[in-house]
């Protein structure tokens, strides 16, 4: 066989430069999109300080949060340290600082607060009845009647008098006579008020019965801001202790060793190395030896498809008449051919001929070939079988 003699092909018509250009053209779109996404992501993430929605947290911007107070304090030069664990609070509370215990909602154990008494720091207990009774010996009660009107100081505490007024709900009951009780409500007893300051064994303990004055939503009301800022800004350092429900109060200060502490440290690095191996294997297996070769596929049209469709159509429309007529006509034409009759033989002649060939009675044959159409599935099937029988009889005659 002859063969064509084409000229040899050397190279694919590209140079290193054209390939680099081509690659750059191909990838510059995705690279541009990716870098744009990165820049937008960074811009969105960087200047935004972390916020939360935990009530009374100094980073919470919710109505119940206290970010406003924390920010004002920081602007005034007070360093705010936010802690959730007792151990962290103890570590952070340096001598000469203020420790705020914000709320007792998550305090389940005395160990979560009893260390506060040993600290060389001023305490501020806000909305914390159990710690207040343990640490300062004042009981708390809740009343929601006094929220409407601002309370008058009614005492000689400098912070209270400077604030002038306060809008708060809770009350503390001072059990000892040396306690200064401020902001008594209209119907309150002499030892009942919203704010009290007491010095316990050399430690200044301020108790605010209600957390509302700290919250972003209520800070601006009445003299709330003045009282809170003075109360918390006594020293340059404020430890903002918001007890966590997950704090077991244990000395480790951790919830227990995690999975990362249990496995040897080599595992993480080994995982990284295995990742490198996987990446290399992916590049090894992922590169094709040339592109996939495509070719048009021929259409596939089964020949009997239209016939089957017609059968389904007969069935769906329950056309027993049509189906039976087709079966009868087919059988009749085959019988006629077998008996040597032309295709145009009239019915009586065909009936006679078939009856003669099979020995059946004329009316039976006539009923079979030209009788009424069947009316259900079983009758149609019976007719088909009967036609088969008579056809085979004619064939064997």
């Amino acid at each position: 066989m002859t063969t064509t003699a084409p000229a040899p092909v050397v190279g694919d018509g590209t140079t290193a430069r054209s390939r680099a250009t081509g690659r750059w053209r191909r990838w510059r779109g995705p690279i541009a999109i990716l870098s744009l996404l990165c820049v937008v992501g960074l811009l969105a993430a960087l200047p935004e300080p972390r916020t939360s929605s935990v009530p009374l947290a100094p980073d919470s911007t919710a109505a119940t949060g206290a970010r406003a107070v924390a920010q004002i304090l920081e602007e005034q030069g007070v360093q705010v340290t936010f802690v959730r664990r007792a151990s962290a609070a103890r570590a952070a509370a340096t001598p000469g600082s203020t420790v705020l215990l914000a709320g007792d909602r998550n305090i389940f154990d005395q160990s979560q607060f009893d260390f506060l008494a040993d600290l060389d720091a001023d305490l501020v207990l806000v909305d914390a009845s159990w710690p207040a009774s343990e640490l300062a010996g004042v009981d708390s009660s809740w009343s929601d009647v006094a929220t409407s009107a601002a309370l008058e100081p009614g005492c000689d505490d400098p912070d209270a008098t400077a604030a002038g007024s306060l809008r708060a709900s809770g009350r503390v009951l001072a059990s000892s006579p040396d306690t200064v009780v401020c902001f008594r409500g209209p119907g309150d007893a002499a030892d009942q008020g919203a704010y009290t300051v007491r010095t316990v064994e050399g430690q200044r303990v301020a108790v605010l019965a209600d957390a509302a004055p700290l919250m972003n939503a209520h800070l601006a009301e009445a003299g709330n801001a003045a009282l809170v800022l003075r109360m918390l800004g006594r020293h340059d350092h404020l430890v903002w202790y918001l007890p966590s429900p997950y704090d077991t109060g244990s000395d480790e200060g951790e919830a227990g060793p995690g999975l990362g502490d249990l496995v040897p440290p080599v595992v993480g690095v080994l995982g990284l190395q295995l990742l490198l191996v996987v990446v290399v294997v992916a590049f090894w297996r992922g590169r094709r030896l040339g592109r996939l070769v495509t070719e048009p596929m021929p259409v596939v049209v089964p020949a009997a498809e239209a016939t089957r469709g017609r059968g389904r159509l007969y069935r769906r429309s329950r056309s027993y008449g049509h189906a039976a007529a087709a079966l009868r006509a087919g059988a009749a034409s085959r019988c006629a051919r077998r008996l040597g009759l032309p295709g145009s033989t009239p019915a009586p002649q065909l009936i006679d001929a078939v009856a003669l060939a099979t020995g059946r009675r004329n009316p039976d044959v006539a009923a079979l070939f030209y009788g009424p159409p069947p009316t259900d599935d079983s009758a149609l099937a019976r007719l088909a079988r009967d036609l088969d029988d008579i056809e085979s009889e004619v064939q064997s005659s």
């Binding site: 066989m1 002859t2 063969t3 040899p8 690095v269 040339g290 049209v301 020949a303 087709a326």
Partner: protein, 430 residues
């Protein structure tokens, strides 16, 4: 750029190092090592673009027969070329083991042979030749795909040629040229010869006998130099699959057998593949060049999913044929299609020519009409019966207009059409 299994092993070798110094820096360092080794190895590999490639393929091959694609690879670089070469062909070309490993010193060349066993008729266009040149360390490789155009024409199988010897023998019987002197019922006067006992007395030429003392008989031979036009319908009905092969394949087989037979019988054969325009045409070719020309033209005849324009067929035939000829229509005996398309115009053909319509029958139709298993099957049987009756009716109508109708299963169509041709020839109806 491509990597080999050695690169993966190199990366895995970092695991002991990590176990000794378990810091993330080790992983980073090892990744750098792998990267540098791969880059250096790829840079040291011979350029796959400095390889001269020549692809040689035979111009055509018969369907089902093996062909070879020869790739001559010459290293024109100054470095030694260790490479993996892929000779890419479309799937239907049936390339056996198209990947080859070569190791060529500078200036050396090698011939790589890929065996192709095509499974589909038509033109197979070779795809790119991909060369992956592996570096001296065997870690990384450079890769390039080169456009090396090549075309392999896959001709029709012509499996029906096995029927040719028996039909040629029948033709020779007609011709009176057989070793056994059986005179055929030809229609053209051939010669006079002496009467031998056994000759038909009706063929005695009395006038010639009177001039001589012997009794002389006329001998006849089949008519010669008739024209045969094969029209292959490439419309949508030719795409229909019968026994897992499109109808057009069986039609092509029949066309080839008929052409081979007719050209041996001394007739001139022309071919026209048509749907709404001419898809292939062979005319004015005779003798030994006819069959290759036909195979070449039919190789690329594929079904088009459009309705055949029969009026166009008729005008093509009238344009082509001035004298009486045998017109063979290779199409489908589809009742609806024939009634809409062929029947209105067939008179224009039959008035001047002998027309034969050859169609592939569907064995599934018979199977369908026999089944009685369920109500659905009986309905299908009724539908098949109705289709069969309609086909018979349309065949009768065509016969009434003088068209010879040949309907046969795919494998039988070619011999049946050849037999019809011989019968027509014997009857002198060409």
């Amino acid at each position: 750029m491509a990597l080999t299994w050695r690169a993966a092993v190199l990366a895995a070798l970092g695991i002991p190092a990590v176990l000794v110094v378990p810091v993330p820096g080790t992983v980073l360092l090892w990744a750098l090592v792998v990267l540098v080794v791969c880059a250096v190895d790829a840079a040291l590999a011979a350029s796959p673009r400095e390889v001269a490639v020549v692809r040689r393929v035979p111009p055509s091959v018969r369907l089902g027969e093996p062909a070879t694609s020869d790739l001559e690879v010459t290293n024109v670089a100054s470095r030694r070329l260790r490479a993996l070469v892929r000779d890419a062909w479309p799937p239907s070309s049936g390339a056996v083991a198209p990947r080859h490993e070569v190791d060529l010193p500078p200036g050396d060349g090698r011939r790589l042979r890929t065996v192709l066993v095509p499974t589909r008729r038509g033109d197979a266009h070779a795809d790119r030749v991909t060369i992956r040149s592996i570096g001296p360390l065997g870690v990384a490789a450079r890769q390039a795909s080169l456009e090396v155009p090549a075309r392999l024409r896959v001709l029709p199988e012509f499996a029906s040629r096995r029927h040719l010897p028996s039909r040629l023998a029948r033709l020779r019987e007609l011709d009176g040229r057989a070793a056994v002197q059986v005179r055929g019922a030809g229609t053209e006067f051939d010669s006079l010869r002496e009467y031998v006992i056994g000759d038909d007395v009706r063929s005695i030429d009395w006038r010639a006998s009177a001039r001589r003392s012997d009794v002389v008989v006329r001998t006849w031979r089949p008519e010669r130099d008739r024209r045969v036009l094969v029209v292959l319908d490439t419309g949508r009905t030719s795409a229909v699959r019968v026994l897992d092969a499109p109808r057009i394949d069986a039609s092509i087989e029949a066309a080839l057998l008929l052409a081979a037979l007719a050209t041996r019988a001394g007739d001139r054969v022309e071919l026209l593949a048509y749907d709404r325009r001419v898809r292939a045409r062979v005319a004015g070719t005779g003798g030994p060049r006819l069959m290759p020309a036909l195979a070449d033209a039919l190789a690329t005849a594929h079904p088009e999913l459009i309705e055949t324009d029969w009026a166009g067929v008729v005008s093509q035939v009238r344009e082509r044929l001035s004298q009486r000829a045998l017109v063979v229509l290779l199409t489908a005996l589809d009742p609806a299609v024939v009634e809409q398309g062929l029947l209105p115009v067939v008179d224009q053909l039959t008035s001047r020519h002998q027309v034969v319509l050859a169609s592939v029958a569907d064995p599934e139709l018979h199977e369908l009409s026999q089944q009685r298993g369920s109500a659905a099957e009986v309905f299908d049987a009724a539908a098949a019966e109705r289709v069969g009756l309609e086909r018979a009716a349309v065949a009768v109508r065509l016969r009434q207009r003088g068209v010879e109708v040949v309907e046969a299963l795919p494998d039988d169509l070619a011999p049946r059409l050849a037999d019809t041709y011989l019968a027509l020839k014997a009857a002198g109806r060409l």
